[in-house]
Symmetry: C2
DNA sequence: GTATCTGCAAATCATTTGCATTCTG
DNA sequence: CAGAATGCAAATGATTTGCAGATAC
């Protein structure tokens, strides 16, 4: 995997950003520094970064995938109203039961859906 | 929500099936009993059944959504090799921390990715 | 130098939607 | 009957891909 300008910018952006971003949001942000980067390149790099574990993804909240440069194992809470994604810790011991059953877990994703504090007021 | 033949067949199929199915798999199965059902109708009904909570979904395992008629709260384990989806129990107490933080959780999805027993042998 | 990556544009594919018609309550 | 659901076909929109030129190592 080559260390291209495009990949560096994409990774740096995702790591600097507190919130989870769609591919297009990444594209728009990175385009400010590499004006002629293409969306195809963004997708290809997101795919490689996912595979190498440098980023993670939150899948199909609305219709698209959200990418996250914060890769500590954590759960996501998605507000049904505003779609905002909040982070929460998860207990890694949960994997144990599955490993004991003979499966080999290498990643887990936990997503809670509900209503965040702000939206409960409306 | 009207109780149409199409909706009954779709729900019955998902409840009878042990495995999680894509919209097209549901379509193919239901088409054996309602030959001229359309894929649009399948999608519309899956959306309504999801909303009413009669089915649940496992999102974006490859590219599409999988639907599940078994709606007891459970975790999914997805094999990275064969993509098969296995069910596991989850502990509802996990929601407590999030509820304590002022969020209102009404659904949770837990997805583990890894390698199943069969694929570990290859 | 060469394999990998890029930009571009076209293709793919799951899902959604508009509309005229049919069916459920 | 009236509102909701259907079938069909076309539209949408996120993601992928083929290709020729550019770049990292």
């Amino acid at each position: 995997m080559r260390n291209t300008t495009q990949r560096k910018e994409i990774l740096e952006f995702l790591r600097s950003k507190r919130h989870h971003c769609s591919a297009v949001q990444v594209y728009d942000a990175v385009r400010e520094r590499i004006p002629n980067i293409s969306l195809g390149t963004v997708y290809r790099n997101l795919g490689q970064l996912l595979e190498s574990g440098e980023i993670i993804s939150v899948e199909a909240v609305d219709k698209c995938i959200y990418y996250d440069g914060f890769i500590e194992n954590h759960a996501h809470f998605v507000c049904k109203e505003c779609k905002e994604i909040f982070d929460f810790p998860i207990e890694p011991e949960k994997r144990k039961a599955i490993n004991d059953a003979g499966f080999c877990v290498d990643t887990e994703r936990v997503v809670y859906y509900g209503t965040c504090k702000a939206c409960q007021k409306n």
